[in-house]
């Protein structure tokens, strides 16, 4: 397929091989979780019956799409970026009337029994293209509020739609694009504020509200004390400190409880509480029912998943139990282990050493993408590459943190490895577009 020397020249070999390596790891991991003694392995791999067989076919299909992408002119992507984005938004909107309710989400359109489409996943690629296209415009300047707002809208729009479709996990992925904007000049203060906000939210959950208010006041007073000289010279600093302090207390006192009570679903709130290790007391019967319903659908609550997943990974030890020897993963102690908790299979089967090797694939992959991004002449390509890196990074970090109990259980897959045709195809398309753009890195695309 990609053997034509003409097309292969200029394609980044390291990235391509790492991609193939990761996909194969994924297929083997899925094989390890679903294989049971006495199965006809060869037959199953070639048929569409088992999950690993399906994943293999998805992989082949991804390579086909990749070939098509590599054979496409790179200008095609810049030219049609906005068009794709529009198509994506329309698909997202179509979800509302046509969605089918599976597994507690309303973001999936089903075509018959065999094929289902989750536009919010596809839309990640389109948003990435659209954002790159917007950033690459000559008059885009991230120091200006107008540019910031437009870029933010491009990104947050699909995310909002995703939240409306009860797919909070994937909605969060879109926020990873802020890393791209940061690279392209978005003031660092936005990231810092965002990060501080996250810390504040966690602190709100962990600490008693009054105690936190006291701590915030203490910090404010200390700041005033240390900046007393500057304040004498510039009175507004004091005003800023008071405003920030007020905002913090306001968030802690009103915004976070509001979000938890009205924006997030009770079961999601419970998972966040589970992650930080606190008990969530549902505020009314409806909330309790919601938690129970979602727990029943997921077979067990998130807390159970995480505990079993930690046991699976932890029991791997230094060298692991070996492929097909993991008792945790083979006997279905970890729910969702083909999809969201696939890392357990690797952690249990290959231990700390195996996990390190596996993680290093990802690290090299991500750093390679950044290196590729930085060697682009055109802003579009660079921006797109950073988009790919950010999205992959977010997926990898959150997914693995989820399995080892560092992040709440939000169902997002591990790129290239988790079972799922659409996610594999989406990620593959992203990588192949990147490879295609990188091939023409000397061109200036707009």
């Amino acid at each position: 397929m990609i053997t034509n020397s003409n097309t292969r020249r200029g394609i980044d070999g390291l990235l391509l091989w790492l991609y193939i390596l990761l996909c194969i790891t994924g297929i083997i991991s899925i094989f390890a979780t679903t294989y049971s003694e006495g199965d006809d392995i060869l037959n199953n791999f070639l048929s569409f019956r088992t999950d690993y067989g399906k994943q293999l076919i998805f992989f082949v299909f991804s390579l086909l799409i990749g070939t098509v992408i590599i054979l496409t002119d790179s200008k095609f992507f810049t030219a049609t970026a906005n068009l794709w984005y529009t198509v994506g938004i329309i698909l997202l909107l179509l979800v509302f009337p046509f969605h089918s309710n599976i597994k507690g989400t309303e973001s999936i359109i089903k075509f018959g029994n065999a094929f289902q489409l989750q536009p919010i996943q596809l839309c990640i690629v389109f948003t990435n293209l659209a954002l790159a296209k917007y950033v690459a415009r000559i008059d885009t300047d991230f120091t200006k509020t107008r540019s910031q707002l437009i870029a933010a809208t491009i990104v947050v729009g699909p995310a909002l739609l995703a939240i409306l479709q009860k797919e909070t996990g994937l909605a969060l992925v879109y926020f990873s694009f802020f890393l791209v904007m940061f690279r392209e000049g978005l003031p660092a203060v936005v990231l810092v504020v965002g990060f501080s906000f996250a810390i504040l939210v966690v602190a709100t959950l962990l600490l008693d509200p009054n105690l936190l208010a006291l701590i915030l006041t203490g910090i404010a007073l200390l700041t005033v004390y240390f900046l007393r000289r500057q304040i004498k010279r510039h009175k507004p600093i004091l005003m800023w400190i008071i405003v920030i302090w007020g905002a913090c207390v306001g968030i802690q006192r009103f915004a976070v409880p509001f979000i938890f009570d009205h924006v997030l679903k009770p079961y999601q709130v419970k998972r966040i509480y589970d992650t930080i290790g606190k008990d969530y007391i549902p505020k009314d019967a409806a909330a309790l029912e919601d938690i129970e319903r979602n727990s029943a659908q997921k077979k067990d609550d998130g807390n159970y998943n995480v505990r079993q997943s930690k046991i699976a990974i932890g029991s791997g030890g230094v060298l692991g139990k070996g492929l097909l020897k993991g008792t945790q993963t083979r006997y279905a102690f970890v729910p969702e282990q083909r999809t969201d908790f696939i890392f357990c299979t690797i952690g249990e089967g290959f231990g700390f050493v195996g996990s390190m090797i596996f993680l290093s694939f990802y690290v090299i992959f991500l750093f390679r993408i950044i290196a590729i991004a930085e060697r682009q002449r055109s802003t579009f390509s660079r921006c797109y590459a950073y988009g790919v890196a950010s999205v992959l990074f977010f997926h990898i970090a959150i997914n693995i943190c989820m399995t080892i109990g560092l992040a709440p259980v939000i169902g997002i897959p591990l790129p290239f490895v988790s079972y799922g045709g659409l996610s594999l195809i989406t990620f593959s398309a992203m990588v192949f577009i990147l490879l295609r753009l990188d091939k023409d890195r000397q061109m200036v695309l707009r």
């Binding site: 003694e37 950033v135 000559i138 885009t140 300047d141 890393l179 940061f182 690279r183 392209e184 000049g185 079993q308 930690k310 046991i311 699976a312 990974i313 932890g314 029991s315 791997g316 030890g317 230094v318 008792t327 945790q328 006997y331 279905a332 102690f333 952690g347 249990e348 231990g351 700390f352 996990s355 390190m356 993680l359 990802y362 690290v363 991500l366 750093f367 950044i370 991004a373 930085e374 802003t379 660079r382 950073y386 890196a389 990074f393 970090a397 693995i400 943190c401 080892i404 109990g405 560092l406």
Partner: protein, 698 residues
């Protein structure tokens, strides 16, 4: 736009790097630094199945198996596999109703969960098992599981062999959690005493289970499995034919028979009456049968051979004579002129004989069982001038008794043996405020007063006399299969106790001669067997009981001790038949028949009808009926009180469960069960005064 944000790529790299470092650190903590998760995974996935070995077999002295194992079936159910079961049909076979079926399903789910089998109906009878086996295909989810139980081949030896039962929390705690809930252990008799030998070694099978506790096969190909080791067999001294004969003779009698081989201390026969069929307590009817036995006031579960306390009466006299001879206070020619009673103390002790010369020497006194003579020599022994004072003299005398094995536990290889009673001086000091003398406890000399012994102690004393001084602790087990140096359990039975060998053989000969005279022309002529020189002593002791608030005299206990043949003792026997009259009437023929059977291996034809006559005689004390009535009434009254609360009656009738019918959650509390097996101690037999108090309260 100008690309002047080059430096920011490093910040992004830094963010990526730090995140991955956090993940690596966390993985290090999870996988390398802590063992916790590995153990939890094992706990999750590996099910340690305990494989129970067959218990050891118990053989008698002729290598006949008397207690072995057989198979019985349990009906088990795996609730989640139960689909489209013809419930009515199954209920019909098991003769239960559908409500009971539901209850059992719920308790199965509570006990073991939906995915693991639990016992639905245990210990099926053979007919039931056959019927179920035929139809089991109709009941998916139900399976017949075999379970080994104990089989008492000769239906004999219930008390000495003992039984096994499920462990309770006390046993588990005492065993330092070696036993687990559901294990079976010996609960009485040899089964309990030799539990460690008979149980064998439990095997462990490591099986893999999945998230629903379904077993998936062996773990690591059974690398860490240990095989179960069958329990080792016990070879006993018991003669099962003799045992059966003795049980037959003791049918419908209260009392005990103990026969010991003097040279070895091996117990040939041990019977306690009333007895029961040990096989009743192994099968499906165990609960009902056990309850019947527990509630029977005649106490069939009690082993009277080691736990029955009796005044030895005249059977003590050979010992009294030996002590006096050894102390040197009398010689064999010492005589007493008895005129029908002993007048040496304020208290007059009557004697059966009044003709002059019946106590002219020790041999005659023993043959005629003269009370005056033995009262006199008891006083002489205790008031011995060497000992300076009655208290020291008495202590000396008591040491002799202890050396005979009386007043202390012999250490028989059965659990819960009683020590009997040879009172200490402190006991008399307390009762008589320190002022007492040989007249106070004069009747100790004729085996009365506070003296109490168990039948096995009586038989052991006969062994000592037969052996002329030495004995081995009476025991059943001769050897253990594949015995090694680690098996210390039998060591105590191989020590020769020689405390009394210092008594001169001539002294023993005198006693032997007197005891032989008892059979030849004394009180036990009915025990005579031609060609065998039996040495024996009859005994008769008075017995009282309290019934309906009155102390009433019961018929005397009939006692008999003997050994035979005199020249080379092969068997020593003690027989006690409660409330049966003179020792010579019932106890002597029983012992004699046993001797004949053991020594000649047959019973003469003319003796056969004696056997049948004794076996068919019912000597159960009549007062037992009254006692049973009182005990049953007390229990009935207790239940009546429970049922006075009408709400309780309703709950009882519908098999009260804490959760209303229709909801599958929660633990049903089956009050019915509680009522049938009350744990309240009030349910036990109450003394009479409490009954009257209860009746008055009504």
């Amino acid at each position: 736009m100008p690309a002047f944000n080059q430096s920011r790529q490093n910040i992004i790299r830094l963010i990526f790097g730090i995140t991955f470092l956090i993940i690596v650190a966390r993985l290090f903590i999870l996988q390398v630094a802590s063992d916790k998760y590995r153990l939890q995974a094992l706990d999750n996935a590996v099910y340690r199945k305990v494989v129970y070995p067959d218990r050891g077999i118990i053989f008698d002295r002729n290598q006949k198996a008397i207690l072995n194992n057989t198979i019985i079936y349990d009906l088990t159910v795996t609730p989640y596999e139960v689909r489209k079961v013809d419930t009515a049909f199954l209920c019909g076979i098991l003769s239960i109703d559908t409500a009971e079926f539901r209850n059992r399903m719920i308790s199965a789910i509570i006990k073991n969960g939906r995915y693991r089998p639990s016992v639905f109906e245990g210990l099926l009878s053979i007919e039931l098992q056959a019927k179920l086996e035929e139809n089991i295909w109709r009941f998916p989810g139900f399976t017949l599981i075999e379970r080994p139980i104990r089989n008492y081949i000769y239906n004999a030896g219930a008390h000495l062999l003992g039984d096994i039962g499920e462990v309770d929390t006390g046993i588990i705690r005492r065993s330092n959690y070696f036993y687990q809930m559901g294990d079976f252990v010996g609960r009485s008799g040899l089964e309990q005493y030799y539990e460690s030998v008979l149980m064998g070694k439990r095997g462990i099978q490591n099986l893999i289970k999945d998230n629903r506790n379904r077993l998936q096969g062996s773990w690591e190909d059974g690398k860490y499995d240990t095989a179960a080791v069958t329990g080792r067999n016990l070879y006993t001294y018991l003669d099962i034919e003799l045992q059966q004969l003795a049980e037959k003779l003791m049918a419908n009698k209260v009392g005990s028979v103990v026969a010991i081989e003097p040279q070895t201390g091996g117990i040939l026969t041990m019977v306690s009456g009333p007895s029961f069929d040990p096989n009743d307590l192994t099968g499906s009817a165990r609960r009902q049968k056990y309850a019947d036995l527990v509630l029977d006031v005649s106490g069939p579960l009690m082993n009277r051979a080691t736990r029955g306390l009796y005044e030895p009466g005249s059977t003590f006299k050979p010992l009294g004579g030996l002590v006096a001879l050894d102390l040197g206070v009398i010689t064999a020619n010492y005589g007493v002129g008895c005129g029908g009673a002993y007048y040496g103390c304020a208290k007059v002790v009557r004697c059966e004989h009044s003709n002059p010369g019946h106590a002219a020497n020790l041999r005659l006194a023993l043959a005629n069982s003269c009370n005056s003579y033995f009262c006199q020599i008891y006083r002489m022994s205790v008031d011995n001038s060497k000992d300076k004072g009655v208290k020291k003299g008495y202590t000396h005398w008591k040491d002799y008794m202890n050396a005979f094995g009386w007043g202390q536990k012999l250490g028989v290889d059965l659990p819960n043996e009683l020590s009997g009673n040879i009172p200490d001086t402190t006991e008399y000091n307390k009762d008589y405020r320190g002022s007492w003398n040989s007249c106070t406890n004069l009747t100790l000399g004729i085996g009365q007063d506070k003296m109490q012994v168990t039948p096995v102690q009586l038989a052991n004393a006969m062994c000592i006399i037969a052996n002329k001084g030495y004995y081995y602790t009476p025991h059943f087990v001769e050897r253990i299969e594949n015995e090694t140096a680690k098996d210390t359990i039998l060591n105590g039975f191989r020590d020769k106790h020689t405390a009394l060998t210092h008594i001169a053989d001539a002294d023993y000969e005198v006693i032997h001669a007197g005891m032989q005279d008892v059979v030849e022309h004394g009180t036990a002529r009915s025990a005579k067997i031609p060609g065998i020189n039996i040495c024996a002593k009859t005994g008769t002791s008075e017995k009282y009981t309290i019934l309906d608030g009155k102390r009433i005299k019961l018929p005397n206990n009939s006692m008999f001790v003997c050994f035979a043949p005199r020249e080379d003792p092969k068997i020593a026997i003690a027989v006690v038949v409660e409330n049966a009259g003179f020792g010579s009437t019932w106890a002597a023929p029983i012992a004699s028949i046993l001797i004949e059977k053991y020594l000649t291996d047959s019973i003469r034809v003319e003796r056969q009808k004696d056997v049948e006559r004794i076996a068919s005689t019912n000597l159960m004390p009549t007062y037992l009926k009254r006692k049973q009535f009182i005990a049953d009434s007390t229990r009935a009254y207790f239940y009546f009180n429970l049922r006075k609360d009408s709400s309780y009656i309703r709950k009882y009738l519908r098999g009260y469960s804490a959760v209303p019918a229709g909801k599958g959650k929660g633990l049903p509390i089956l009050v019915k069960e509680k009522v049938m097996n009350p744990t309240n101690k009030n349910d036990e037999y109450q003394p009479e005064d409490e009954i009257s108090k209860n009746l008055a309260a009504r």
